[in-house]
Amino acid sequence: MKVGASRWISMALATLMIVSTLAACSSNGANKSSDTEPASSTPGNTASDSAPKEHRTLTVEVFDRGKPGQPDLNNNYWTKYINDNFGKQYNATVKFVTVPRSQEVEKLNVLMASSDAPDIVFTYDAGTVYKFSQQGGLTDLGPVLEQHGTDLVNYLGEEILKYGKIDGKQYAIPGKRTVLAGFNTFIRKDWLDKLSLPVPTTAEQFYDTMVAFKEKNPGNVTGVIPFGYSLNSATPGLGDLIEAFKPSNLTEQQFATLQPNSVRTPPWTMPGYDKAVQFMNKMFNEGLISPNFTTDKDGKQLDADISNGKVGAFSTNWDGPYRTAPGNYTNLKTNVPGAELIPINPWQNDAGKHPKQGYSPNGMFILVPTFSKNADLAVQYLNWMVDPKNTLFLQNGEEGVDFNMVNGVPVQTGTTTSGDKMMTVANNLDYDILSNGIELGDPQKNAAAISAGYPGFEKEVEEALKVAMTDYYAPYYFSIPNSAEAKYHGQLTSLSAQMLAKLIFAKPAEFDGLYKTLVEQYMEQGGKAVEDEFIKNYETQNGQ
């Protein structure tokens, strides 16, 4: 009897399983056919631009930066403006879907796979864009742009739009980056003054300064950290330090293929990179670098150390300490009265220059998934955003309330740092996705306005930008995407982080051998494939 009952149950289970499998199967098929329909009919049903008939909902991705005190990202001052203006004009509701900033790509992958992604999504990761395009997940926005995006095309121009083209199709609309600066190195000026040391201008001088910081401890702190460093697994690297060790006479091909993105992924085979890592190794072994750099995976410890005045120098985003989040410089000044941070240029190369790899002129890639039924509305939204009036509002707020025009440059009144109007990032780049950095329609005004976006540090930021743009260069532009990079990027990035950790931690005597074996492993696990494809693409692009 027992047997009979259990047999009955297992039969029921099996039947249910088969049924559910079939159901999942057929529903999948059904989804499929309804998915493809709107994509193909999109250009057709959008002929009437001026008279939107039915009410539509446009969903747009927004980064959730998890800033303390941030308002509801789908219901605040800025989203109301968007809905009151764009929404009214086009008879649409714009809804914002949050994606955690630090898991941007993972979350996007999941959203795309489950067909839940909003109509407008974006990412900074070119490899992800390439992968989506190859899987047929992105709408070719070329025709839609032609129909609805005249202002948008004029604003971006071919110079920027080309970054969003894959196989000749406009799968992405790149934002425009108005600030191209990458990294800066900062040093405690008050410590230098106390020891009567000059501002270091070469790597050797920098090293000597760090030794002096360690020995003399000018800040009189426990656990002084001359050079603050944290190894982030997502973007492992050494910042602008590597430029001091890179030969200045690279050929164009070497320039293009060996360091396509040295800010974010270590260029292991670039001549001189070993010397740069060795420099870090030496500093670490002499106790000049944050001892916790590997366990400080998110950089929070480094932020705290800087804020508490323990750190003598560090390399970070060009505007890192001035940002309101996490507000390192503000905190430092509160904790250590008289503390002064200045941006410096110590990484002089063999030609006496201070080159720094910055960003390409494109910002993030804005995409419309193929399953979105609102490609036309999405482009209309972006087209609306280009209007200087809207850009100005989204980036600065209302004139006379949130900002005042001083010499043609908006100056914040401080209303946007908290509450409903809080910007979670300077100039609200999470809502104004088209421009990466302030956009006043004139490069000179922009430069003047950038500093205004950092209340309390206007002078410092102006200087920091100048330092960061000294001998700036952009990564080489490839018209052909690197499929090997798209495939191996994730693995190679985490491998790079492990390699950097081991190499910086190694005993100085073992460094050379370890570097060789690790780079061999790296090349074997995909590094070679990526490099070869860069070389191939370079040759194709230049007709060799």
Partner: protein, 302 residues
């Protein structure tokens, strides 16, 4: 008991069957239905076309996995960490349970049990934070050691020491909770046995050795089989929150590897294939340990 129809039993115990619906639905929805997705491992999964429409790839995914050095490293680490957990971590709750069982003062016993259970309810994210604060090169423990005139220990930065930290932190978190089953088994031991042993002049250790331990032997065996069956499966949170880039040679396990290549790099086929491989190995371990235990005369799980 004759041949009564299925309906008889359903009618007879309908409330029991009714209560069974929830767990059965749970199993169907979360354990059986996802089996449909296994085919991703054998396909060039295209997230936009869906599972069904993606083309088969003739075991290409498995070829790729078995030619990857990182994968074998992750497998080795999983086995090593789980093996150590089994050797060091498995006896810990047994010993703890025996110690607790021997306590006579009930209130003290209750309080210490509660304290021992508490770590189980902490999330690994929080434990990871505590571990970093305590054991990092300038963490609390090392600062203390250095202040006392010693040399700091590389709890998290040396790969061997890291394995030790990993295992001990795991025991700290789980041993207390693990005692529950053993303590329950111990309450089932007939008190007369102890009284008889006492009459025969057995001391405390004799009683533990000859009565308590044999009394909980079936429990030990079943838990052992279950843990052996899980030797290739490793939870994600524990290694992920404790590992760092310096110790990945030993700290990168299957779950974190799958997270990296499967989710972060969006290579879902690879992630699924590894998961499938892992499940098959687990199944083999489970079946063979069950078989061995039955051969040795103990009851297996089934």
């Amino acid at each position: 008991m004759g041949n009564k129809g299925v309906m008889y039993y359903i009618k007879h115990d309908y409330l029991l069957y009714f209560m069974l619906i929830v767990p059965v639905v749970y199993l169907l929805a979360f354990k059986y239905a996802p089996l449909y997705g296994i085919q991703i491992a054998f396909k060039d999964y295209n997230i936009f076309q869906g599972i069904h429409a993606s083309p088969w790839n003739h075991f290409e995914t498995f070829n790729e996995i078995f030619s990857s050095r990182q994968f074998f490293q992750a497998v080795r680490n999983t086995l090593v960490l789980n093996g150590l957990d089994l050797i060091v971590g498995f006896p810990a709750p047994i010993i703890l349970a025996i110690l607790l069982n021997e306590l006579v003062w009930t209130r003290y016993k209750k309080v210490s049990q509660t304290i021992l259970y508490l770590p189980h309810f902490l999330s690994w994210v929080i434990i990871g934070g505590i571990v970093a604060q305590l054991f990092s090169p300038t963490g609390m423990l090392n600062s203390l050691i250095v202040d006392l005139g010693g040399h700091g220990l590389p709890f998290l930065t040396d790969k061997y020491a890291w394995v030790g930290t990993y295992i001990l932190v795991g025991i700290w978190q789980n041993a207390g909770w693990g005692t529950i089953l053993y303590l329950a088994a111990m309450t089932g031991i007939d008190n007369q046995l102890y009284e008889a042993a006492e009459a025969d002049g057995a001391g405390r250790f004799r009683k533990i050795w000859h009565i308590t331990l044999p009394g909980i032997r079936p429990t030990i065996v079943i838990l052992m089989i279950l843990q052996l069956g899980n030797i290739m499966a490793i939870n994600f949170d524990r290694p992920f929150n404790i590992q760092n880039n310096l110790v990945m040679d030993y700290g990168d396990v299957i779950s974190t590897y799958v997270y990296r290549v499967g989710i972060q790099s969006a290579d879902f086929s690879l992630g699924t294939a590894i998961g499938l491989f892992q499940s098959v190995i687990c199944l083999i371990f489970l079946l063979s340990s069950n078989y061995i235990s039955r051969k040795l005369g103990d009851d297996g799980i089934w």
